[in-house]
């Protein structure tokens, strides 16, 4: 017998998914309350992914009220997992739906809390700097072994794929002809971990995805002697310096950067010989949501 109400007859698949995520939520709360915070965050992230799956199934089945509750639950789990930007996106989606006034008040408050944290993280220059260092090492456009990226557009577009691994997967599907190679590249992409990445969101600017913090990041990297920035005619040239190589080596040994290192390697192999203008055009051609976004609009991954 189904233990759901008659207007909410759900398939076995949905019921199983609900059971699985319910267990995860209880487990995550248990870990949190017993002080195992790091593990709690991991289980909350897993619960959030499951809850998003449940929400999608409920929406597909036309159960809008339950879909919205599930969405809020997924957002709350992401928030508990520390993934504020994803939480914020889902809270926004829930607010766009028809939810009760009581729930709306709570969601508005939760969303504001996420925004405060996101804004604080927004100023996190070192994480952005780390990504630039990896790009310089793995996506250099110099064949002579120097780690150099020529052009701000090229750097920003490569950074875009590093921050949006799902889009990188789409790009690989479009660019790599050999099925075996395609599979090999796609297997390397840490899509699951990617949702946990910080400071990944970019905005739509004149030539596509952009991060308004770039100039701060370049100043930071230059002041630390990690990179040098020069100009060749009107084009910026970014070069990894000796201290930068040492920093990259430390990043490569840090487990938390595994995902980024794999992404940067893959990105270099797939788009290593693309010019900035080619990357820009490729993004416009393959990602309509980005091409059509208004100037200044935040670019979400899904």
């Amino acid at each position: 017998m189904s233990f759901f109400r008659h207007d909410l007859i759900l398939s076995e698949e949905v019921n199983k998914a609900i059971t699985a995520k319910s267990r995860l939520i209880l487990r995550a709360n248990e870990l949190h309350e017993t002080g195992q915070l790091e593990q709690a965050r991991e289980v909350f992230a897993e619960a959030a992914r499951h809850e998003e799956g449940v929400a999608a199934l409920l929406r597909e089945a036309g159960h809008n009220d339950d879909y919205l509750i599930s969405l809020v639950s997924a957002a709350s789990c992401w928030k508990k997992a520390g993934v504020q930007d994803r939480a914020s996106t889902l809270f926004e989606r829930a607010l766009a739906g028809q939810i009760s006034q009581t729930l709306r008040k709570k969601v508005v408050k939760l969303q504001e809390e996420c925004s405060v944290v996101t804004r604080r993280l927004e100023n996190n220059v070192p994480i952005r700097a780390a990504r630039i260092l990896l790009l310089l090492k793995y996506c250099s456009d110099e064949a002579n072994g120097d780690a150099i990226i020529t052009g701000l557009t090229r750097l920003a577009k490569l950074d875009f794929f590093l921050r949006y691994p799902k889009h990188l997967m789409t790009a690989i599907e479009a660019v790599v002809d050999t099925p075996e190679l395609r599979e090999q590249f796609i297997r390397r992409i840490p899509v699951e971990e990617a949702t946990l990445m910080f400071n990944k969101l970019m905005t739509r600017h004149h030539f596509g995805p952009w991060d308004h913090n770039y100039y701060n990041v370049f100043a930071y990297l230059t002041s630390k002697g990690l990179i040098s920035v020069s100009k060749s005619e009107s084009t910026y040239v970014f070069r990894l310096e000796q201290a930068g190589y040492r920093a990259v080596s430390m990043l490569e040994q840090n487990r938390n950067f595994d995902g980024y290192v794999r992404l940067a390697q893959t990105l270099g192999e797939v788009f290593g010989d693309y010019l900035g203008s080619q990357l820009k055009q490729f993004i416009y051609d393959h990602f309509a949501a980005i091409a059509n976004a208004k100037l200044g609009e935040t670019l979400w991954e899904s």
């Binding site: 759901f4 909410l8 059971t19 995520k21 809020v72």
Partner: protein
């Protein structure tokens, strides 16, 4: 005197897919502390609960028994879980006995809203909210019930639901059903 309603709490994870053995273990820990090594008897007081177990009445004696199956889990819980959490989880255990034995319902869904998680019960008639709380104080169970009732009636999901509050030292359980939108005063 009618026979008590007697249930073995070790069956809680069997009755409810989403409840782990921890809830049974924590109920056993609290039961042992407040009663005896193998059982605790609580006075069950109900409101708006229609159940064949109650023979048309609104109270019964609820006897919760256990064996030694969860002794290891009990030791782990005592060592790692705070007192408040132990008592709250023991109350979830009591709810895990009342459903499906007194009311035909199961714990089917847990949703996280902000920092709190809420249980949803599935019954053949529909899906319902549930508020649960436990206490080891000597008194105050009625006030605790009122507090949980208000919380239930303010639930963000707009669902009717149940309240289960357990006074393990008072040896009482209040079990009630409420319509969303009913008077909260």
């Amino acid at each position: 005197m009618p026979d008590p309603l007697s249930f073995n709490v070790e069956n809680i994870p069997v009755w409810h897919d989403i409840l782990s053995t921890a809830y049974a273990a924590r109920l056993i820990v609290i039961g042992r502390r407040n009663s005896s090594p193998e059982k605790i008897t609580l006075q069950l007081e109900t409101s708006q609960i229609d159940s064949p177990c109650l023979n048309g009445g609104c109270s019964a004696s609820l006897e919760l028994t256990w064996g030694t199956t969860y002794d290891d889990e009990c030791r782990r819980s005592e060592a790692s879980v705070g007192q408040t959490r132990l008592v709250e989880d023991a109350a979830v255990g009591v709810a895990g006995v009342l459903f499906p034995n007194v009311v035909d319902a199961r714990f089917v869904n847990v949703v996280q809203i902000g920092d709190k998680f809420d249980y949803l019960m599935g019954t053949p008639q529909g899906q319902f909210g549930l508020e649960i709380s436990g206490s080891e104080k000597r008194s105050g169970l009625n006030a605790l019930h009122q507090k949980k009732r208000k919380q239930l009636l303010a639930n963000v999901k707009g669902k009717d639901g149940y309240v289960v509050v357990c006074g393990f030292r008072e040896k009482r359980v209040i079990f009630s059903f409420h319509r969303f939108g009913e008077e909260t005063a």
